[in-house]
Symmetry: C2
Subunit: 135 residues, 2 copies
């Protein structure tokens, strides 16, 4: 099995609310093949980020849809400097994003904070001086 | 905010169990900067897949660690044909993967199934005739 991930699909409570969040707060643009039931965002050369109803996602995978609490994963968006992290938090704070943890120096040598989307899905916004930011 | 995701970090119950699963069942290799507390796998040119303790991840984000049920997201690994999907399921079935949904023709015109990792995190293994497989 080759080492590539092609999709990250979030199972969201309300796809209209979520797509508005990613369009407005993140400023991301959907692909032309998105529709009322699923939103796709190109999030890397080979990677798509998708929003789909959580019940529909559970049904597609044939697992029970019940869930609660911490979603047990985080996504990260890396930028090129501490100032860029701060600037992005300022922008996100003015929009609809929940600031979960304000940016600070991290134990691993970088600088990062967390925001949450309307379902509580976590995004770390980070500057990592040890990794180049690739897109 | 540019459209790129740099990390997908799973909060796992037992990092030793999870890293063995991704090494053995998936055949993936960790990066040299992995350590006892975190495992990194390059999963695309700009994308890293990480395994981290779920309590440590919740603590890092400063959210309560309690959770249960459906993790409300899925990752997808795309391959180039229906036969490749079947072959990968055969391999994964012989290893430690839980077959959640055997491959079948999907309503969207592709061919896919789902497996679960030791924490119940879902991976769709898919052939999508409408999207080239990029790596």
């Amino acid at each position: 099995m080759q080492q590539h991930i092609n999709f990250i699909t979030l199972g969201v409570a309300d796809i209209a609310v979520s797509r508005r969040f990613y369009q407005d707060a993140f400023g991301w643009q959907e692909t032309a093949d998105s529709n009322d039931n699923i939103a796709f965002f190109q999030a890397g050369n080979a990677l798509r980020f998708a929003l789909y109803g959580k019940n529909a996602l559970a049904e597609d995978a044939q697992v029970p849809a019940e869930s609660s609490g911490f979603p047990r994963f985080a996504l990260a968006h890396n930028v090129g400097s501490e100032a860029e992290v701060d600037a992005l938090f300022a922008t996100l704070g003015e929009k609809n994003a929940t600031i979960v943890k304000a940016p600070h120096k991290a134990f691993w040598g970088g600088y990062s904070g967390y925001i949450a989307d309307p379902d509580g899905f976590l995004w770390e916004i980070a500057y990592n001086p040890f990794l180049p930011v690739l897109r």
